[in-house]
Chain length 243, copies 2
């Protein structure tokens, strides 16, 4: 796959500097370095944004302010509008994951294809005139009983979705490596001998079944070599061999 | 699939009330109604938490405070610890998506299997003694150059991951229904006639190729019936038929 620049994120008419800072932090958490602002209410730069970004701006490209969304997206090739609700507009509406699949497909054949995600102001979301400038809509499914995400949360979820479309982290990162079965068998044989010695098995008839149940229960932990040595040490202590 | 209760979220030693409120809001955005607190620094209830939750607590079960993590998870069957970094501990570590796959598998066979996700305090994350109480670790992959998620963001991402493991939203929610091809063909035939009339085709030799290119370009929009009527209206206006 060809590498491609991450999408540009564009905040339209953001109000609180705190939210711009939190959005920047969320972007950098997932490797999105380019933020553009359209008409931020409190001007730019904004000390509240810097405070809330906890250093994110130092990792990012310079934030550029534009007078309109049309200007802010003029150099982009495909632009997605994010909305909190589905809209009655004749435009394809994707989940974030589906949008990233499409975006990766475009990048896969053309690494000069520049994309953007547009986020509306805190209370009202994007106007229909802004939506009309975008090629498609991205809708984040939420709990219908409590659906409203704040601006930085929406940015975080879209940014993470881009990151996971590239991420190579295996689903199970750090599983325990179990010891070879022979080491478990040696432990189990010793345990069986000690239990025999201690009168654990009520009768020879019951013994095979009890052993099967014991093996099932102990095998489930898939102990490592170190953990099997620990159990060996427990057996020594429990049977008085450490005295 | 059997339905099952959503996982319980447990915040250990949370400091800022604002973060508890933001975490509650994020939980309800994705349908997680049960929050437990272990030793919140500023006590409970906490007005800053209520302010920042924007009404989320009204939708949730009552928040219960516990003196220790051990007490908070006593009634749960499987408990996942969330960490910001991978730990040197012999415990399976999952991505959020993999953890939800496992959790759904457990729920699928036993809808009385109660699960929980544990989140550490803001600055330090979970202590190793707390990790030892949990069955597995969940690690959220982030940009290595700027990895630190805040508490409410971590809660948001785990909550969304649970929600998406249940969510039935189709990837493309509201695509445009294109008109049947016959309607496009009628439009295209009219366009061809008008272009012939206007001298668009330089020569009969070039015409078939030009028509193919035109069809390719106009077909790509997959216009709806309404949009084809709009284009018909444009043709009337452009050729002076509206005068």
């Amino acid at each position: 796959m060809l590498s491609a620049p991450p999408p540009v994120f564009i905040l339209v008419n953001p109000q609180m500097g705190e939210n711009i800072g939190a959005a920047a932090r969320a972007m950098m958490n997932f490797g999105i370095p380019t933020l553009r602002l359209v008409n931020p209410r409190d001007g730019w730069p904004n000390p509240a944004a810097t405070d809330n970004a906890t250093g994110a701006f130092e990792h990012m490209n310079e934030v550029v302010v534009f007078p309109s969304l049309k200007d802010a997206i003029a150099d982009l090739h495909t632009v997605y509008a994010t909305t909190a609700r589905t809209r009655d507009i004749a435009k394809a509406t994707y989940t974030p994951a589906a949008a990233m699949t499409e975006l990766r497909a475009r990048h896969g054949t053309n690494n000069t294809h520049h994309t953007g995600f547009v986020f509306g102001p805190e209370r009202t979301g994007l106007e229909n005139d802004d939506l009309a400038l975008c090629h498609a809509i991205v809708y984040i499914p939420t709990n219908p009983a409590f659906p409203v995400l704040n601006l930085a949360q929406s940015v975080l979820l879209i940014a993470q979705e881009f990151f996971r479309s590239l991420d190579q982290t295996p689903p199970v990162i750090n599983d325990v490596t179990p010891a070879p079965q022979a080491e478990f068998d040696a432990l189990f044989q010793r345990l069986q001998d000690e239990l025999d010695h201690g009168g654990f098995f009520k009768s020879e008839d019951l013994k095979p079944r009890m052993l099967r149940n014991l093996r099932t229960m102990l095998l489930r932990g898939q102990w490592s070599e170190q953990e099997i040595r620990t159990f060996q040490g427990m057996l020594s202590a429990l049977t008085g061999k450490n005295k």
